[in-house]
Symmetry: C2
Subunit: 585 residues, 2 copies
């Protein structure tokens, strides 16, 4: 069967504009750590990745959907072309682009990794999830593993000879990770015997790497109940031999693959560990901390997956709308449906949402880079220090994850609508974007969990990191006000409402906070989006297409912050006033 | 393979409450036309349909998804159990429940048909689409067909011996119906030779009816271009013989079935007519008017399909959430996730949205019934007359369609989220609701088309029908204010904002209206939802679960009207400020 390729063109000019004018990439390039990654280098790197995404990965998107990964005699057979696609990613060095050069990485900023991951995900989300998992594992090992494990695993993960997975969830332990039952008992040789069943393991196996490295959460015999008694283990599919090659098979197996709504090219497995040999990563009982390193990376990465799909779905819909002729409008002489106001509304909103979401993801990545680069730098008088940047990154991560994936779902859904009846026909490809992206709001912590993380853990500083960000936004709006009074005023006021909402949340009870968490997170993303667009309009001198897009966002979309904040501050009482019995019948 | 049945319990107490306290069913029952359908009869009818839906149709939901209808040697083979399910619907008399008793119908109000259709759709949407098509055809024939056609076709459509379809769309003529190319030329015997290709024909064929009756739009030789030159023809699969039985095969065929995102149990076909024999329905060149009778019926019906899926998805999610244990909360001693504030938010919002959407659909149906019942009644001094009710029905139809289907999509999407990772696994069944319902925002006129219908055709009265409805809402809010000041104030103010938005729209240019149409329609639905919940809270004495649900809607969801109205009044200029070139890269 002939598999049609999705058209995809990487948004390189948007990346460049965002790096130059919105997210302050110059600050990253000015650090010692990332001194080699100046804007010209960055531009060249992104152009290279754009080529990979468009030429090599985009043709695999439909193949993964039509020919899902399957389990044959205990071994996963991947979708046609995926092995070659993975090899191209590995050979380009993209797996280790943010990794330590000491182990073969490129040591590039997370900001560039974020842009590259976006492009690869737009082209083929199911395959891109594999490198994303390896990237997270690389980072977790860099931070928490022993030197021996680093020396053995990192070069192979970075080269793509081996791939990585994360194993948290069990059937009774999803959002409540602390309920896990997997056990690890010490062996005489310093290794551990790991046993248990894990579910929802993305890319648990493949037929293009010579080993699959599972990071598994399990409890030691003296581990306390709950999350404080959990340890992290490296449990490879094949035990490394004396030369560090994949040797004897470990005592683990892929039990089954899930039949999912989408992302068919990515095998999602139930894994069984039966006294499998594992090595402790990090200190005993400190597994959650190590896993959080991987998860925070993955949360940014999953938010970017949402963005990826939004961009892919947008390009797909625009391509169709330009070609589709229905009725006549003064605005499209050729009869293309782009001339119709409501089609134009859908397309411009999609584009405006994508720009805002991309800005949030890149701000997040810049904060990560600055935190890393400045960790040991002396505090400046005015400049934010490493801890400030780390707090900024921590604040933005749940927003990037939840908002990015919601944007992916909404834009993909709108993309179907732009196609009309064709959107419901699978051959068109529009529906695949929605099916694929839907899981991103669930995995790596559901969006509800992200929102609770934002209003609880990330507000444990009394809202300090949030207020600092809001002050920046209002300062920028004040500067923009003389030239763009209406737009700047709207953004300033929205930030002020968000500040009031933040004050309410910080003072609220846990239940009230949690009842408003999702709405608050969305409101925060709206304000950040307004800030991004206002900055873009200002940088464009208040005219031209970027200013027009800013007007679309600020006039038509930003007002949502108000209704979201009303919901955020509505409290939990009404929700609990309905009994379980009342909810039915 | 064992196919698990979805749990489904018909919301009979909600129907009764809505009929008694919200939508004024007593007015319908007080008319001469519907005098037999008093509330006790209505209750008995709904209880009977509830039994059919839960016992007979719900077990077919998964079967339709897993075993799609397929085309074998030009004949459609339907999903396992669908033939028996259809027979049960037919034998219960549900196909003709609103039809004229002169031809075997029950002559019951559309209000009850709407509730019954909702239940059948919750249980098995793919199968329910078949009766919905027949119901629309029955109504179109009752209004427009010759007595001979009525006498021949109506009894068989009502008994379910034959089924009906509607054939509008061609590949170049979707939303722009006037671009159709199908031709009809007169034969010597008074019939017509109909030729052309039609796409997206729902239930174009089946293996459980002895004939399939296609209503086909085509152009006569002297038909003008555009929609004014289109005529409507009855083109049956088998030509009726002298005894009115299905005889010789007509010259038409099912070319292919679409491979769709969902609704797999419903065959969606490309149909080819090659000098097929047809009979004119209605006057020459007046086919659009006749088809609109069918489409208006179908638009209400499709809006109700959205509601159906919302209810099904809600029950499915609630069932899961009560059983799923994660973490501990003070609010759920057994550890069920219903105790978590964000899960509770999702469930209560779903329930509140469903109640509001059901009220809108039933208001719409009541208006249709009152318009029909009062058409020949003398004008009362105060009471709205038939024309007022008809205008009310016309105003509400696009709102019911677009908002009902959006609710279906949003609630089904939230239902997946409530399931966490299980929501992405197809076996769970949660994803099917989203896949199935997605088309409802597209077919029978996309939701964008509905919104344009609302702000153009339905506002051609200068907004009079809208203002009359808003006045009722504000009068009710004023009555409610002493007992429920906060809730009543919020609804009154929202209605006032909607009145201002309506004034703006009525005075605006076509482009500005169309650019705001979708947002305006959603805002209207929000206000109607607030009105429904406020009325429910008042009827409940301001306390108890209905008042609690009203607080959830009015405090947490109704505020969206403001941001939607801001978008509705933002105008088209910014959308068109971006050129086609600007939309890409």
């Amino acid at each position: 069967m002939k598999v049609p390729a999705m058209p995809y063109t990487a948004p390189l000019s948007d990346f460049r504009f965002l790096l130059d004018h919105i997210v302050g990439y110059h600050r990253v390039a000015a650090t010692d750590r990332f001194a080699d990654a100046d804007i010209d280098t960055a531009t060249a790197v992104l152009a290279e990745a754009a080529k990979l995404a468009a030429d090599t990965l985009a043709p695999l998107q439909r193949a993964g959907d039509l020919h899902p990964a399957r389990l044959e005699n205990g071994v996963v057979r991947t979708s046609p072309g995926f092995a070659e696609g993975f090899r191209a990613i590995a050979e380009g060095g993209w797996l280790g682009m943010a990794a330590d050069p000491a182990h073969g990485g490129m040591g590039l900023p997370m900001t560039l990794t974020t842009a590259v991951n976006e492009m690869m995900g737009s082209a083929c989300l199911a395959l891109q999830l594999n490198p994303l998992m390896s990237q997270g594992q690389i980072e977790a090992l860099e931070h928490h593993a022993s030197d021996a494990i680093k020396a053995l695993y990192l070069p192979k993960l970075i080269s793509g000879e081996w791939t990585g997975t994360m194993n948290l969830t069990e059937s009774q332990a999803g959002s409540d990770v602390g309920a896990l039952r997997a056990r690890a008992t010490p062996n005489a040789d310093g290794t551990y015997a790991v046993s248990g069943q894990k579910i929802y393991i993305s890319w648990a196996d493949n037929d293009f790497a010579t080993n699959v490295c599972h990071l598994v959460l399990a409890r030691l015999p003296d581990g306390a109940p709950g999350t404080r008694g959990i340890s992290l283990f490296m449990v490879p599919k094949f035990l490394p031999d004396a030369n560090g090659h994949a040797g004897q098979a470990n005592s683990l197996r892929v039990v089954s693959l899930e039949h999912k709504l989408g992302l068919h090219g990515s095998p999602t497995a139930v894994m069984d560990y039966d006294n499998a040999t594992g090595w402790l990563v990090g200190a005993p009982h400190k597994g959650m901390a190590a896993m959080f390193t991987m998860m925070n990376n993955a949360r940014l990465g999953v938010g970017v997956q949402g963005l990826s799909v939004a961009e892919g779905a947008y390009q797909h819909a625009l391509y169709y709308a330009r070609d589709r002729r229905q009725g006549r409008t003064p605005q499209a002489a050729d009869g293309a449906i782009t001339g119709h106001a409501d089609v134009r509304r859908m397309l411009t909103h999609m584009k405006a949402e994508i720009f805002a979401t991309r800005a949030i993801a890149l701000w997040n990545a810049v904060a990560i880079d600055m935190a890393r680069a400045q960790t040991d730098a002396p505090d400046g008088a005015d400049a934010p220090d490493g801890a400030d940047w780390a707090a900024r990154a921590a604040l933005l991560t749940p927003i990037t994850k939840a908002h990015g994936t919601e944007t992916g779902i909404e834009v993909a859904n709108t993309g179907i609508q732009v196609h009309g009846g064709m959107g419901y026909v699978e051959e068109t490809g529009a529906a695949q974007y929605l099916r694929d992206v839907r899981v991103t709001a669930i995995y790596e912590g559901t969006n509800g969990i992200q929102a609770m993380d934002l209003v609880n853990r990330k507000m444990a500083d009394g809202g300090e990191a949030a207020y600092r960000l809001l002050e920046e936004i209002q300062t920028a709006a004040e500067s923009a006000r003389p030239a763009l009074p209406a737009l700047a005023g709207a953004v300033w006021n929205a930030a002020e409402s968000l500040r009031e909402g933040t004050e309410w949340l910080v003072a609220a009870s846990v239940d009230d906070r949690n009842a408003g968490a999702v709405a608050y997170l969305r409101a925060f993303a709206r304000v950040l989006g307004g800030h991004a667009h206002l900055t873009a309009a200002t940088a464009s001198g208040g005219s031209g297409p970027r200013a027009a897009l800013a007007r679309v966002f600020i006039t038509r979309i930003l007002p949502e912050h108000a209704s979201l904040l009303a919901q955020a501050q509505a409290g939990a009482a009404d929700l609990y006033a309905l009994s379980d019995m009342d909810l039915s019948a």
